[in-house]
């Protein structure tokens, strides 16, 4: 399976994503933001970081970058696109995903492990994943997801909510919501479910010496579903 990780100026989880994808068997290549096209890929990843310094608004300048047209075309033709953290912010800015990511409710950057509940398994990202609740890691200042009532209705009607913040028993609720995201949303799909944006970083949870190993489950599962 071939994957491509886009590097924007200011991306800083690009290497981590590259390491994770290769560890689980992807043939990964790094693509520069100023390139005109993306080589044939089964998966395109927009990594975390501070693309273009997150100036103006997180992800907004990246959503106008040269490479982004290829990403949008790829997504529109049904290709699999994964945006993590800043990548999620970029996806909402491009319009591939609905809604916005606002500053965290308590106005602080948050770096910690969180639990998320997998809400939908009828998609290539989470199909057949063994656990219902994953322990992942967040590190962001703007992860407070918000969308209009209409957008929320369509997210819910089409089962586009991918993962929600919860505790280790799966209880959602304010006390388990780290950033104030509406309905505890940590990640969503587009309507065709080939585009996933999420704030948690699975690439930081890929061996037992790191924060945990549920990221490994995510990548192993993804590869299996693509094969």
């Amino acid at each position: 399976m071939k994957s491509s990780v886009i590097i924007f100026p200011g991306s800083n989880c690009d290497r981590d994503m590259d390491v994770a994808l290769k560890k689980f068997g992807f043939k990964n290549q790094m693509i520069w933001h100023n390139d005109n096209s993306i080589p044939k890929s089964d998966l395109i990843v927009l990594p975390g970081g501070f693309s273009y310094g997150d100036y103006l608004r997180c992800g907004s300048i990246a959503s106008k970058s040269k490479i982004i047209k290829s990403v949008i075309d790829f997504a529109n033709s049904g290709g699999l696109v994964l945006g993590i953290c800043n990548g999620f912010q970029i996806l909402t800015e491009t319009g591939l995903l609905p809604g916005i990511l606002q500053q965290n409710k308590y106005l602080n950057f948050i770096c910690k492990n969180v639990f998320v509940k997998v809400k939908d398994k009828k998609n290539k990202f989470f199909k057949d994943i063994k656990k219902e609740i994953l322990e992942l890691h967040i590190a962001h200042n703007e992860g407070n997801y918000f969308c209009s009532n209409d957008e929320m209705k369509s997210l819910e009607d089409n089962n586009q909510i991918a993962v929600t913040y919860c505790n280790d028993h799966g209880d959602e609720g304010d006390e388990n919501n780290p950033n104030g995201a509406i309905k505890n949303i940590a990640g969503i799909f587009n309507s065709k479910k080939n585009v996933l944006g999420m704030m948690p970083h699975p690439e930081r949870m890929i061996d037992k010496y790191l924060s945990g190993e549920d990221g490994s489950l995510f990548f192993e599962n993804l590869l299996r579903n693509l094969n």
Binding site: G10, F50, N108, C111, H201, R204, L210
Partner: protein, 730 residues
Amino acid sequence: MEVTEKIAVEHGLKKDEYKKICDLLKRVPNITELAIFSAMWNEHCSYKSSRKHLKKLHTQGKKVIQGPGENAGVIDIGDEDAIVFKIESHNHPSFIEPYQGAATGVGGIMRDVFTMGARPIANLNSIHFGSPQHKKTKNLLRGVVKGIGGYGNCIGVPTVAGQTSFDESYNGNILVNAMTLGLVNKNKIFYSKAAGVDKPVIYVGSKTGRDGIHGASMASAIFDDKIEEKKPTVQVGDPFTEKLLLEACLELMEGNSIIAIQDMGAAGLTSSSVEMASKGKLGIELNLNKVPCREEKMTPYEIMLSESQERMLIVLENGKEDHAKKIFDKWNLDFAVIGKTTNTKKIDLLFDNKNVASIPLEFLAEDAPVYDRKWKKTKLPQKLKFDKKQFKSLNLSDCLNKILSSPNVADKKWIWDQYDHTVMGDTIQKPGGDAGVVRVHGTSKAVAASVDASATYCFSHPLTGGKQIVCESWRNLISVGAKPIAITNCLNFGNPEKEKNMGEFVECVEGITEASKYLDFPVVSGNVSFYNETKDKGIKPTPAIGGVGLIKDYQKMITMDFKKTGNIVYIIGKTEGHLDQSIFARNILLEKKGPPPSINLFNEKNIGETILHLIDKNLIQTCHDVSIGGILTAVSKMCIRGQKGIKINPFKDLVNKYEYFFSEDQGRYIIEIEKTNIKKVNDLLKKNSVHFEELGIIDDKNLSFNGEINLPIEELSKTHKYWLKNYMEN
């Protein structure tokens, strides 16, 4: 403008220093030349008060590749890997503008590290604030933490460890010390010494603006009522540009284009150009019209003194300009050939086709003033005799709760949750433990780092305090299973023109030297920050020590959280009951006199090496050193982290329980042992003549002792975690 003595004094020069400048030049300097002298001769750049004493530091060792004198120190960690590291202060700017002051402190230290060709892999910080009740403390703390996070998080370098303390001596002068570790191939290290004549001098990075002018002289002055007026001299950071600069520099360093490289830190273009040329015994000529400027009509004076951030000066090989320019263009950074190296041994500045400054470099470097300042020795205070009767009204559980929730002991999670500590995917020990640990990417090795300061001990007796802080750093590295290799020091002191403050500096340096020599734990880099004084009130002497150690096999790293019910807990090292200067004496008995606990370097080394041996043989599960708050505090933290309890054995001998539990005797560790390993551990400890005692056995949920303490760990956790969060959010 004609330069006069009055103008020179306004630039922070002393009258006799100005006379010396005129004598050296055999004329009156022009304003640009005066600016250059004032920047190079101030305390921050010239180390004029400290130089004599810094020479005494122990800086040699088998693992030392580069000691003090470069952008950062470098140590060998085996194979072809080397670690570049340094700590630096950004105290004065952070007090005036906490967010930008702290942020640019982090930016500056990272540049020092990647200037040498190393990719930064870990950040640490040591931050010290005034009394929590002081009206400025909360906002300063919030701003500093946001600034450190704002910069480090954006660059994508994990902040893996740190230290925070509160003391009223910092009410008017907070301390912000930032430390960075970088990884480099030991055959590809870049230095700041220029070589060769007629080599192009390149300016890269951000444009030059009027920010930060006189920053270095501000850092060499004491504060007064007009401090707020200094805001314009605080630099403004742009971590995004720094990230681009980092990537661009590392890309350029892959080839053979660079002869020398130096970041523009304090005193900007002045100190970087002077240092590169004078280290290479060359001259340098710069055309200031070529310097990329952000603002219009900047004068040579302003260009030379600007401390705009995210800039580098590079001496390139001839003919490599186009290759280098292509890389900086790719990263959207300014690139300009602004001059060349010469054989004149002078710095010559051209502006509008005129020579606007011409100064022999030796006048700026070798001839800079060096002072042998008067200093006063601090006598060892008399040991206190505590009246044991006053302990009778106390209750062990209350004392423990008070200590665990006191500002200097309370959990600092509120702070490090705001730092990205996991980016780069190699952080295997997060903040909150004895040391932060990151893997050396793609190898079985890991590097441990910690940063420590104990101003209370240093204030009471600087010589002992200096030794203690090196030992504490050593113990923190040992506790995670790392072999300590070297240290960097950030020497934060008051006004060196006062005999008491100068004495504190001299004796702390002596203490640091003695301990680092004995432990073979050399100092490879550092910085001095004097004049931490506001309206005549100086800070307590606060040398911060950043220690770095190596774990050859990261799978052997250990942590401080208790692991398994039924395992046995030992105290290693002797408990003598020294309460003077302890947090128990200060916070519970309200007794602030007496000497700090003494240091026995022989024991320190012997015990430390024995612990490392136990870890290497996989004989212990957990380790934590005993520091402020004594045994009971240390053991509580181990319980909290592991969500386990402990049943502490009743005392066999006639020991005073307060002295036993809360004394801060040095050189002690607490370890957890599986029952099946007890004999092997005992044998090894006896063989090495290490004193040990069994403290108790790990229990499910309570910390208990002899019917006198019975505290659920959940409650202890709340007590420990509550203070800072509550303080900051209410």
